[in-house]
Amino acid sequence: MKPISVEEAVAMIPSGASIMVGGFMGVGTPERLLDEVVRQQKAGLTLISNDAATPGKGVGKLFDAALVSRLTATHIGLNPKAQQQMLANQIAVDLIPQGTFVERIRAGGCGLGGVLTPTGVGTLVADGKRLIEVHGESFLLETALRAQFALVHAFLADYLGNLTYALTARNFNPVMAMAADTVIVTAEHIVPVGVIAPDHVVTPAPLVDYLIANG
């Protein structure tokens, strides 16, 4: 893990990059990184995020600034701007079930090619997907999902990069921290090594590439 400024971190992300962003309706989202993505006007992004949050909050800021060109998400109904941009074909949107979304990312992070899920069988979600039978039951083959960058928000980070999360701000952050080529983390608190007990670490240090330093 390397401590880095938010400006330097975002400067590494090219326009057109694929980014996974943690958070659920803006809760547990690395706001400082998104503010800087907007400031540096990184455009044409492929965004992988559970939802579109709301205007002005979390990944909603990326829609406010019209920086997203492709989106994989599970629900964007609470962000009218994202809805408008989708309906106006400014964004190519892939809406998928939330359990499938998280398993595809987990598969991407854990070296699996994909998973078989019952979710979506017999619905529009099955269109174009392989149906695989196991012991007489039908499942959809859902393939692994990865990104170039994961933007992750933690509660505690220690000097090595071990992470914990708080309450419902954990959500997609731990799986995303495994599924990207480069993992950039903001934390509410940076603490010395040993403050986080081994049993409480959720994301072990070697998964973290960059931690946004204070100040």
Partner: protein, 216 residues
Amino acid sequence: MDPQIIIARRVARELRSGNLVNLGIGIPTLVANYVPADLKVFFQSENGLIGTGPIPEQGMAHPLLTDAGGRPISALPGAATFDSAMSFGLIRGGHVDVTVLGGLQVDADGHLANWMIPGKMVPGMGGAMDLVSGARRVIVAMQHAAKGKSKIVAKCSLPLTSARPVDLVVTDLAVIGFARGKATLMETAPGVGVAEVMAVTEADLTIPGTVPEMKL
């Protein structure tokens, strides 16, 4: 009684001590208000919490403790938080005993449509498809009709949420089950007759010999 409260109170009677329950947004959320205090039910919020508590007192809300809509909630003693992989492992893996969801349409075979209206409402399915595929029991809580049109239809015209039929539909007029795969009138709301329910229901309903009145 307010139609939504009839529905919420009746659904609450389906919950058992020890159940893990997931409530969708809208009417389902109201169900929590009518669970008897001595019933130990675990409520899951799919953004990563078991043991959701009421809305916090003024000044006590924490920005990192919210429901799936991003609104502040509290947590009861013995609550547990987890990531989304675990949350949907619980849902898909059959560990959620009951899910209560809103509906746009339920048809005579028990199929639910509740996530999109083509050309009009395309918000995404969120967790709905996993909940209907994976929960042990799926209960739909919705008004019987909208704008004068029955929401209990012969065949869903809207895209299905799952190929798996739901177990129970509770409306402001009736409780409908799907014994032997066919919509069956189980109960009527207080003061509502069987004929009245049939008149406002598009789907063919099987009518048993006796149809008791809902206990609320």
